[in-house]
């Protein structure tokens, strides 16, 4: 069974089709990098896969279930453009909150573990509004990984990260792939993404212009896919 299956998905904003007949799959343990220019539909596709909105036509499944199915959401982790943590709460309180929402057996223990893994133990009781940008991003990573999701949906995960946060995230993503988790990420930072990707999909104005395995040529020259399959 595919971990993520996107079958003939269309998504309309008014009359404008932001996604046009998108067909993609990602097997368990695969890392699919969604690339494309601004406005190509990467974020729309990821948000639709995450269940934030429903497709106009077509079907999306996560391990065979609709994205809005509770079982599918339990297996999904999402990092979007925002950090999705509360400024008024401490780092620890934020993670315990999400641990409770995901009904982890011991939310406090999980929170402490992820604070340690992301190097935030020292500031665990500090309010997020007092955090630096890098610390906030690391907390966002901890929040997304807290419930050990099987499928990670990452929308430009390397954007605005400091060196330390990039290193933390890359290490976590490598570990996730090694343990059979599936990653679907949109990105403009091709070098970081293609180092991890097993598959690449190029979106162009809402449709898939290229979909295939990540080859050594792509890793060596991140502009290769654009040059060969893009709009130039």
């Amino acid at each position: 069974m595919n971990a993520v299956a996107i079958d003939s998905v269309w998504k309309f904003y008014g009359d404008y089709p932001a996604l046009r007949d998108v067909k993609l799959t990602a097997e368990a343990g695969a890392c699919l990098a969604l690339i494309g220019r601004n406005g190509a539909g990467k974020t729309t596709l990821l948000r639709t896969v995450a269940g934030f909105s429903r497709p106009g036509r077509g079907k999306i499944t996560i391990f065979g279930k609709e994205p809005r199915d509770t079982a599918a959401r339990r297996r999904m982790g999402f990092i979007g453009h925002g950090i999705s943590v509360y400024d008024e709460l401490s780092a620890f309180e934020n993670l315990v909150l999400y641990g409770r929402l995901y009904e982890l057996p011991d939310p406090k223990k999980a929170a402490l573990q992820w604070l340690e893994r992301t190097g935030l133990t020292r500031v665990r009781d500090g309010l997020v509004r007092e955090f630096s940008r890098g610390m906030r991003q690391r907390l966002a990573v901890a929040r997304a990984f807290l419930h050990e999701p099987s499928v990670l949906l990452l929308d430009e995960p390397f954007t605005a990260l400091d060196d330390r946060a990039i290193a933390v995230l890359q290490e976590l993503l490598r570990e996730a792939l090694a343990s059979g988790k599936t990653i679907v990420m949109s990105t403009h930072q091709l070098r970081e993404a293609l180092e991890l990707a097993t598959h690449v999909a190029l979106l162009n104005r809402g449709h898939v212009a290229f979909d295939g395995p990540c080859t050594p040529e792509m890793v060596a020259d991140p502009g290769y896919v654009y040059a060969r399959y893009g709009e130039g």
Binding site: A50, G51, F52, S53, R54, R68, T70, A71, R73, R74, M76, F78, G80, H81, G82, I83, S84, V85, Y86, D87, E88, L89, E93, L97, Y98, R100, L101, Y102, E103, L127, R143
Partner: protein, 228 residues
């Protein structure tokens, strides 16, 4: 139990965030007290007519002050895109909604409980309110629940609208008219010393019906409101 536990997690989160910042409750409370003070100057507290309209005055204050809290309900999720994480979590939309509604209810009711004695003193109705305090609290509880449910669902609906602070009252007040009418009639009866009896218990039934119908409708519709 699982559903209610998740709703309580959301409610505690909202209450904790609000008590840290106090931005909505302070604004709401200040507004309520200022309006009550202005009403006390505008209307003669010794006049019988003031007592007859005092139910309406009180609920106008509650409705306007409550909106300041309800406006913040889903807007609190906008910074940092927290709403995305809540929608992505395995929490039914109805549990999320109920948690937010409960948190709003506690905040709005707290403001009302502080405003009520001020209203009683300014309008010289302390004795009648004390005599019917139990019934008045019941009417306040029912009216506030209706107001909170409608405010919370429309807060979700308007969360992505730029002028949501303007849109929320414009959308909620027309729908709230039956509940506010019932609450005003019953409160006026209690303040004037008439109490709730066969002459006006239809308003009480209507208030209960309003709460039940709109709570059920909101719980069913919230998933569509949030995800489409």
């Amino acid at each position: 139990m699982h559903f209610f536990r998740l709703a309580l997690v959301v409610a505690f989160k909202d209450l904790r965030a609000e008590f840290r910042t106090k931005e909505a409750i302070n604004a709401s409370l200040a507004f309520a007290l200022v309006i009550l003070l202005m009403f006390s100057f505008a209307f003669d507290p010794e006049s019988e007519m003031t007592r007859e309209i005092s139910g309406g005055l009180l609920w106008i204050v509650f409705a306007f002050a409550g909106t300041l809290i309800l406006n913040r309900s889903f807007a609190r999720e906008i910074p940092n895109d927290c709403l995305d994480a809540l929608i992505a979590a395995p929490v039914p939309g109805s549990a999320l909604f109920l948690g937010k509604a409960v948190a709003n209810y506690i905040l709005v009711f707290a403001v009302e409980l502080i405003a009520l004695p001020v209203f009683a003193i300014f309008n010289n109705v302390t004795s009648s309110i004390t005599a019917h305090l139990g019934q008045l609290l019941m009417v306040m509880a029912l009216g506030t629940w209706g107001m909170t449910i409608i405010g919370t669902i429309f807060s979700a609906l308007t969360v992505n609208i730029r002028l949501r602070e303007v849109m929320l009252p414009m959308l909620t007040y027309p729908i709230l008219v039956p509940a506010l009418m019932g609450a005003m009639q019953l409160t006026a009866a209690l303040v004037t010393g008439a109490g709730i009896g066969p002459a006006n218990d239809a308003w009480l039934k209507m208030l209960i019906g309003f709460d039940v119908v709109y709570t059920a409708a909101s719980l069913v519709l919230v998933e569509t409101v949030l995800v489409g």
